[in-house]
Amino acid sequence: MLRAYLPILILFLVAFGFAAFAVVASYLLGQRKPTRVKIAPYECGISTPGYGKTRIPLRYYTVAMLFLLFDLEVVFLYPWAVTYKKLGLFGLVEMMVFIGILLVGYVYVWKKGALEWD
């Protein structure tokens, strides 16, 4: 059974080996002449304003998390939509319940003020 995976293993080894070879070779063979431009974060485009490690408000994460949450739940709508005709009325009711539950969560989040920025 495991023999079937042998090609994958070989491929894996080859890929790893090539990458390692490339890095090591360029490290050994290439010459280094760093200039100010070369060590900048970006070689082109607009240079970064301010300091790189700015603190981002907690709100940002809350909103991001909530977005992710509701976004993910909405994904369920796709398979439902595909089989909607098959499911019939029952499917509709079930999705209503599902959305209803999401709505409760949404109302709760709203009411708790999680969506307000300040």
Binding site: F90, V104, V107, Y108, K111, K112
Partner: protein, 482 residues
């Protein structure tokens, strides 16, 4: 899905509706911190669930396309969860007020996690098992950190979450391996697959899967060496939450463990017995020995909870019908005595001083004779002294071990039980034979708290004196599982 299936799901539907309702009420109410009204609503939901459970007695119905099964076994556990819920909610009503916990969120989370527990007991599908496990755990991660001004609580929540996620990883991986090697997620299908294949032709991954599932369950029931989080989390979490998770999570995890191991993995019983034996022995021993040196009663109870998990594992290792039914009985008994003990700790908790150390119990027997008496009953029961539920439970567990000719296990169990008497009785000794160092503060007893304690004492004594009915039901439930 027809009406019949909806009826089967009725307890869960009730719980979910109440949970969401409470969540909204909590959000819209002017001041939901410590409101007891919401507690009573949660209590009402328990009553409805209890009533709805009677509609299913004896009917092995499937729901969600055989992802879960409402049989006598699940109903037994659902009743255990209701008992746990009622006792916890009753005890919480004034505790929530004292600690200023947000009622709406608190009770909603209790109900949500109970849905998870109930699903765990009745799930017959690997996917459902995992979902229900998470559904139970996530609210409890949150609840453990409910005392936001208390570092210990936050630490508890964080630790529990991190380690829980870690263990969930193992668990999920185990489930995946089982799926990979059998090509099915339904218990029935997996069991059929295993039964229809020669042992030599089975993929080795099944064993690895069982190993990982064992680790996951080991974490949830706080078995050695996956128990390390228990003392810190139990100590840090709000006491009511500790009571709830010590009993509820343990019961749910054992429910799922027994179901999956004895109905799906039973052909591998010989394989798992030795390691489980070792885990059971180490769990009991580590739990008891460490509990001995604790000065904080709440922490002592946490270690004792590890030891109790060990006893339950003894019954699991014994593996015969008696052992399995004694797991059910013991979990119910444990619910009464453990929540009872924690309730008394809750009574003693003040805003800034939780009075959890042993010294707080000194002389309690003279100022609060009835409370001390109740505490003594719980301690006696945990130590396994007749005529209490703990005695009958332990008696059946060790008898089961003897019956399966595992004498050493029984002997080690009994010795452990003897060790445990020391630290349980120390509480009693402090209450009755020790002068309090400082004056005992005035504790207030609200009606629901008193009711909860009385209920717990009643349960402990009822199961201890007239255990026949419950033992029969437990036996019956186990039959339904097979």
């Amino acid at each position: 899905m027809n009406l019949n299936q909806i009826m089967t799901l009725l307890p869960l539907i009730i719980l979910a509706s109440f949970a969401m309702g409470i969540l909204l009420i909590g959000a819209f109410a002017k001041n939901a911190k410590g409101t007891s009204t919401i507690g009573y609503i949660a209590l009402a939901s328990m009553v409805f669930v209890f009533l709805s459970l009677f509609l299913f007695v004896g009917k092995g119905k499937m729901a969600f396309g055989s992802m879960m099964r409402m049989d006598v076994y699940s109903i037994f556990f659902n009743l255990v969860f209701v008992v746990i819920g009622v006792l916890t909610i009753l005890a919480s009503i004034s505790y929530v007020k004292i600690t200023g916990i947000h009622s709406g969120e608190y009770y909603a989370l209790i109900l949500f996690s109970m849905i998870g527990m109930m699903l765990m007991a009745s799930s017959t599908n690997l996917v459902m098992l995992f979902i229900s496990l998470e559904m139970m755990s996530i609210p409890i991660y949150i609840m453990a950190g409910f005392l936001r001004n208390d570092d210990r609580s936050i630490e508890a929540s964080m630790k529990y979450f991190l380690l829980g996620a870690f263990a969930s990883g193992f668990f999920l991986y185990g489930l995946t391996l089982i799926y990979i090697s059998t090509g099915a997620t339904s218990y029935q299908a997996i069991a059929n697959f295993i039964a229809g294949t020669q042992r030599w032709n089975l993929s080795k991954l099944i064993w690895v899967g069982i190993a990982f599932i064992t680790i996951g369950f080991g974490f949830k029931v706080a078995a050695f060496p996956f128990h390390a989080w228990t003392p810190d989390v139990y100590e840090g979490a709000p006491t009511s939450v500790t009571a709830y998770m010590a009993t509820g999570v343990k019961a749910a995890a054992f429910a799922a463990l027994v179901r999956i191991f004895f109905s799906v993995f039973s052909p591998f019983q010989h394989d798992w017995t030795s390691i489980m034996w070792l885990i059971a022995v180490l769990t009991m021993t580590v739990g008891n020995f460490t509990a001995l040196v604790q000065k904080n009663v709440k922490r002592m109870l946490a270690y004792s909870s590890i030891a109790h998990a060990g006893y339950l594992l003894v019954a699991f290792v014994a593996g015969n019908a008696m052992g399995r039914s004694s797991i059910l009985f013991y979990l119910l008994a444990y619910a009464f005595m453990n929540i009872g003990a924690f309730t008394i700790l809750m009574v003693m908790a003040k805003k800034n001083d939780y009075h959890e150390d042993l010294d707080s119990f000194a002389g309690l027997g003279f100022k609060y004779p009835l409370t001390a008496l109740a505490m003594s009953v719980f301690m006696f029961s945990m130590a396994g002294i007749p005529p209490t539920a703990g005695f009958i439970g332990k008696f059946y567990i060790f008898s089961a071990a003897v019956k399966s000719h595992d004498y050493w296990l029984a002997v080690i169990g009994v010795l452990n039980s003897a060790v445990s008497v020391y630290y349980y009785l120390r509480v009693v000794v402090y209450m009755y034979f020790k002068e309090p160092e400082e004056e005992i503060p005035t504790y207030r007893f609200s009606a629901p708290t008193v009711f909860s304690i009385v209920l717990a004492v009643w349960g402990v004594l009822q199961l201890g004196i007239l255990p026949g009915d419950i033992l029969n039901i437990a036996r019956h439930s186990i039959m339904a599982l097979m």
